[in-house]
């Protein structure tokens, strides 16, 4: 029964992955990617690694792929133009892929794991503890520096992305909640005794009266 499900999920996973790179519509490609992620999660579940399976769903499907979809839906890609240089650039792409693959293989075969982790490594369902606990025990003790390092890399990537895309918007109106909260009634309202049958002009009242200028970062500058 489980074997049947394993082949079912694997087949859908392979099919979906193939569709990711071959489908013409980019939105369909991302949706196939999501299908592939979900099937990979199902395979993890079959292997007994329920923590990894659900983390995969939360992180990749629930957050990363949503942002992918978000961006891809907004793009207006011209595919004829995109395919023009395909023949010319294909060898370069293949070369880069090959180098990356070689590096991965080198890392995989040259990697020495901490000896204590052998008890829980290689088995998704260690006999003594649940796999969530096993993962925590290895990850936050003997691999803590690598773990922190990967966090730092992500932080650097995030700051880099912000620095690259941030632009100063001049003259933008900003809401300052603190200033709004600090405003008192007597700063905003003025109560006047108005004689009956007298117009606003006759009592020397012109609207709009002096209004406080909205919060600005700086004075508005002429747009180019």
């Amino acid at each position: 029964m489980i074997t049947l499900f394993f082949y079912l999920f694997s087949a859908v996973l392979l099919g979906a992955s193939a569709m990711v790179v071959t489908s013409r519509n980019p939105v369909h490609a991302v949706l196939f990617l999501i299908l592939a992620f979900l099937n990979a999660a199902a395979l993890f579940l079959i292997a007994g690694a329920e923590f990894l399976a659900l983390t995969l769903v939360v992180v990749y499907v629930g957050a990363v792929a949503v942002l992918f979809l978000f961006v891809v839906m907004m793009l207006d890609v011209d595919f004829v133009q995109l395919r023009e240089g395909f023949q010319r650039y294909a060898p370069v792409g293949a070369a880069v892929g090959l180098v990356l693959f070689g590096e991965l293989a080198a890392v995989l075969f040259g990697w020495e794991a901490w000896s204590g982790s052998f008890a829980v490594r290689g088995s998704a369902t260690p006999s003594s503890v649940s796999n969530t606990v096993a993962l925590g025990q290895v990850l936050y003790t003997h691999y803590v520096y690598l773990f922190q390092l990967s966090g730092l890399i992500l932080l650097v990537a995030m700051i880099g992305a912000i620095v690259l895309t941030h632009r100063e918007r001049r003259g933008a109106l900003r809401q300052d909640i603190g200033r709004q909260q600090a405003r008192r009634v007597d700063e905003t309202l003025e109560i006047l005794q108005v004689p009956s049958r007298a117009g606003a002009g006759q009592i020397g009242l012109f609207r709009p009266k002096h209004l406080p200028s909205p919060v600005r970062d700086r004075e508005p500058v002429e747009r180019a």
Binding site: F51, L54, V66, M73
Partner: protein
């Protein structure tokens, strides 16, 4: 008989089916009456009667609505992507139902009492955004698309603080199993411990996660007509509606399990079965949903993002660190079994 259900494949399959029906049928009835509850509550808030025509006190109103929706015509817009257009409401509804598999309604009474129940619920609620974003794209309509964009950003933002809330509860319990989380609250409900601010953060993020007022920007009827489901009619629309209410009930159940002691009885009133206590707590939080809806105007988009990223994220992160420090300092961290 017992052997048939527990030890044969057909029997255990049938048993799972019965268990599933056993939770889904009450949930769907609860969902139907939560629409009635909402309309009656809103009526009371606005000094009107609410539905009172169909049946005794209007109690047949949900069924009248269901019949109305069933008999209408499903319209698929000309430029829409037919498959995805119909897939989107189904995703919303199926996900809303799937989540109920792990909710314990009594000690050990859950369809699937799995090790990582809390992660499962978190994963399911984070998938909920797909129904909306696919609906927005497949409709081929600018209002629907705007609604979908808003929803994607909103739900991803508020998930982050929900995640930190979940982690701080986990730290106190030491297990990802929902049943264990409820059992850990047999003496003190987490809402009445120093986790109280996290309870508030969870309640508010929950509103954003289910796209309810005052965070119903994806709908935003005063700006973008009806947002992501502008183009939907009849059953397809009804599935969104069903999904939204089922999700609300699910989030209420989640909040009761995390903070209000799930099925645990307060004041030692254990002669009333736990299922009823869970129902009472769910109803209380559902009332909170409607109360908020009747009270607050809709947030502006930048205010929503500010609240999520600049207020809730630092607050929940700080409280998580404080919780961890407190537990470590007083040697109260749960040891893994």
């Amino acid at each position: 008989m017992r052997d048939f259900f527990l030890h044969t494949e057909v029997g255990s399959g049938l048993l799972t089916l019965f268990e599933t029906l056993g939770i889904l049928v009450p949930v769907l009835i609860l969902m139907a009456y939560s629409t009635y509850f909402e309309r009656k509550a809103l009526g009371a808030f606005q000094l009107r009667l609410g539905p009172n025509r169909v049946g005794w006190f209007g109690l047949a109103q949900p069924f009248a609505d269901a019949v109305k929706v069933f008999t209408k015509e499903t319209i698929i817009p000309a430029g829409a992507n037919r498959f995805l257009f119909l897939l989107a409401p189904s995703i919303t509804f199926i996900l809303a139902c799937m989540a109920w598999a792990v909710i314990p309604v009594q000690n050990g009474w859950a369809v699937a009492n799995i090790n990582v129940g809390i992660l499962y619920l978190f994963a399911i609620s984070s998938l909920g955004v797909y129904g909306i974003i696919i609906a927005g794209w497949a409709s081929n309509s600018k209002y629907a698309f705007l609604g979908a964009m808003r929803s994607a950003a909103q739900m991803v933002s508020y998930e982050v603080s929900i995640g930190f809330v979940l982690v701080s509860v986990l730290l106190c319990v030491g297990s990802l199993n929902l049943n264990d989380i409820v059992l850990a609250q047999s003496r003190h409900w987490f809402a009445f411990t120093p986790l109280f601010p996290m309870f508030i953060v969870f309640l508010i993020s929950m509103l954003a996660e289910t796209n309810r007022a005052p965070f119903d920007l994806p709908e935003g009827e005063s700006e973008i007509v009806a947002g992501f489901f502008v183009e939907y009619s009849a059953m397809a629309f009804a599935l969104f509606y069903l999904g939204e209410y089922t999700n609300m009930i699910m989030m209420s159940a989640f909040a009761s399990i995390l903070f209000l002691g799930g099925w645990q009885a307060p004041f030692g009133l254990t002669f009333i079965p736990g299922v009823f206590w869970l129902l009472a707590k769910i109803s209380l939080i559902m009332f909170f949903f409607f109360w908020v809806r009747a009270t607050f105007p809709r947030y502006r988009y930048d205010q929503l993002m500010r609240l999520g990223w600049k207020v809730f994220l630092p607050l929940s992160l700080l409280w998580l660190v404080l919780t961890a420090g407190f537990l470590e300092f007083f040697h109260m961290l749960p040891r893994s079994s």
